[in-house]
């Protein structure tokens, strides 16, 4: 995947997300949290992870676990841009009987490691993958993408405890801190007092960055700490890339019409 211009990749993925949401009609898409995570995904797939569309089931591939499973559309888009999924297939997003529902279904050939949609499980699975790597002395790395709302789930912290106990320095957890969840701002719904300190308390090496900044992301993904799992606390903006919806509530899940689609694409082009 390496070599592709990450910024261009990110913009293409954002366009795909909007197109998929339009095509999904009344089913809509989780557009807000998809857009906030795009830069994280683009850097992972464009510059960081050792994965290849030619050998999707290579046992030494890095593992990417999408724990905030409702943004499968963003994952489908980046997988399509990187050749794992055909574009036409990507556009069957949410179509009846299709391979690409709202929440992804495990499909290693297409680069999809787990079935997602029930929040709070991805980190446990990631701990398992990382533990398996340690057991077999395999050199792949495991990346888990969490939502900040998702971190309300106690299971996240159970997994954190275990990651630290087993010294999983081959695990990087990224939290997309866009400050919102389904019902609105996390500050109102269920705030986490200090997520950096919480991860530190569980024994992680924590890196805090602007999660919509490509260079900062690249820097964060290069960090290693012997014997410790890494948590990247990535501050982002929900709806990032489309000024009209950036940071606004009401865009967690939405349907859009043709007019909005055109306006969103224009805003994306201008914001580039």
């Amino acid at each position: 995947m390496k070599g592709k211009d990450i910024r261009i990749l990110a913009t293409e993925v954002r366009k795909d997300i909007i197109q998929m949401t339009l095509q999904a009609g009344v089913n809509g898409g989780h557009i807000g949290g998809a857009l906030s995570s795009v830069d994280i995904l683009a850097v992972l797939y464009g510059a960081v992870m050792n994965v290849s569309a030619e050998y999707p089931d290579d046992t030494l591939r890095d593992r990417f676990i999408l724990s905030k499973g409702h943004i499968a559309l963003a994952h489908y888009a980046v997988l399509a841009e990187c050749g794992f999924i055909a574009r036409d297939d990507m556009l069957t997003f949410e179509k009846s009987g299709g391979e690409f529902p709202t929440h992804e279904e495990m499909n290693i050939r297409k680069g999809i490691e787990i079935s997602g949609g029930s929040l709070g499980y991805g980190m446990s699975i990631g701990v398992g993958c990382a533990l398996a790597a340690k057991r077999s002395d395999a050199e792949y790395r495991t990346y888990v993408l969490l939502g900040d709302g998702e971190c309300n789930e106690g299971s996240i912290w159970e997994a954190a405890m275990a990651a630290s106990k087993y010294n999983l320095d081959n695990l990087t957890v990224i939290v997309d801190v866009n400050g919102q969840q389904l019902d609105g701002y996390s500050a109102d719904v269920m705030p986490i007092y200090d997520i950096v300190q919480v991860f530190q308390g569980f024994g992680f090496h924590v890196v805090e960055i602007d999660g919509n900044d490509i260079a900062q992301l690249e820097g964060a993904f290069a960090v290693r700490c012997l014997g410790k799992p890494i948590a990247i606390v990535a501050h982002t903006i929900k709806g990032k890339g489309i000024p009209e919806i950036e940071g606004k509530t009401g865009w967690h899940h939405a349907s859009i019409n043709q007019e909005q689609y055109e306006s969103f694409v224009k805003q994306l082009e201008e914001a580039k």
Partner: protein, 324 residues
């Protein structure tokens, strides 16, 4: 008090059971001072946004933490509150199940679980969002009352009943926005008593939840083929109305159960368990979702995939009558 006027009924049907929940509770809490509602970051999905702004002191958003929500509900109930908790069905029923069993069931606390969008109603969202075994597992908690309304009007009736009920209860909301109702206006809802929706003499169809809308259409279609099928609304899945099974169902040659739920352990299971151990009984046909994770898609597509459309139900019944 809830008003069963055409304007309300129309609005509920347009919204569906899930999004009508909040509005119904706005009316109900005015008569029940002790009610508090807890949601797990799904207030807007449950139509509770306005409730939250009108009654901020009666509402708590616990975040995406369903087990924690059940625990907090247990504590509130123990201290005398009349607690309603809600999330999407799989998360509140399956994810938090053991908490429900111990903290609500075992301690017999006054917590009413409102399970949103159960069955297949979340369509394209897929299997993590379907809930096809909640009846099965909730049934096995001693003392758990299980209500499964046929439409929005009946959901309102159930909520009104639950507001005055004390003890563990599970309310299973099904259907999508626009699913037609089977009741047309106000009616006399009798908890724990099956309700006859259509008379019939050859076959009796026991349905539960919004799938009853399909069952009524099945019965109409069967009538055209000269088969007279009664349709019964089993709004209370537990305790089962065994008087009805004994006195009414035994008169038929075939008893059919229909549910948007696994064929294992739900209404079909409950009826079969009872009938099989209570003497001679009619033939039984259990229609529901086979023991598979269905292919996902729009709601109507998944109903079709799982054989739960009116015409597919009709065919199953006809085939069965021919072979019996």
């Amino acid at each position: 008090m809830i008003e069963y006027i055409p304007e309300n009924i129309l609005r509920w049907t347009r919204l569906g059971m899930r999004k009508s929940f909040g509005g119904m509770m706005e009316d109900i809490v005015r008569d029940y001072e002790d009610i508090v509602i807890l949601a797990a970051d799904v207030a807007s999905s449950a139509g509770l946004s306005r409730f939250q702004s009108i009654f901020p002191h009666k509402f708590y958003n616990i975040g995406i933490a369903e087990q924690n929500m059940v625990g907090i509900a247990a504590g509130l109930a123990k201290e005398g509150n009349n607690v309603f908790i809600t999330s999407f069905a799989p998360f509140v029923a399956l994810r938090a199940y053991e908490a429900v069993r111990v903290l609500v069931g075992y301690m017999d606390l006054n917590v009413k679980i409102v399970a949103l969008a159960s069955g297949l109603s979340l369509g394209s969202q897929g299997n993590t969002h379907y809930c096809l075994n909640d009846l099965a597992i909730m049934r096995t908690i001693p003392g758990m009352l299980i209500l499964s309304p046929a439409d929005c009007i009946e959901a309102a009736k159930c909520l009104e009943f639950l507001a005055g009920y004390k003890g563990p209860a599970y309310l299973r909301l099904t259907g999508i926005d626009g699913t037609p109702g089977v009741y047309k206006g106000d009616y006399c809802f009798e908890p724990k008593k099956n309700a006859l929706l259509r008379e019939g003499t050859d076959v009796i169809i026991l349905g539960t939840g919004s799938i009853l809308n399909e069952c009524v259409r099945t019965s109409r279609a069967l009538k055209q083929d000269g088969i007279s099928a009664a349709v019964v609304d089993v709004h209370t899945v537990k305790p089962l109305d065994t008087d009805f099974l004994n006195q009414i169902c035994r008169k038929y040659q075939l008893v059919v159960t229909v549910e948007e739920h696994s064929v294992l352990g739900g209404l079909g299971g409950a009826v079969a368990e009872y009938m099989a151990t209570a003497g001679k009984h009619p033939h039984l046909l259990s229609i529901g979702i086979q023991d598979v994770f269905p292919k996902t898609g729009d709601y109507s597509y998944v109903l079709q995939q799982t054989g739960l459309s009116a015409l597919q139900i009709k065919e199953r019944i006809k085939q069965r009558l021919e072979t019996d």
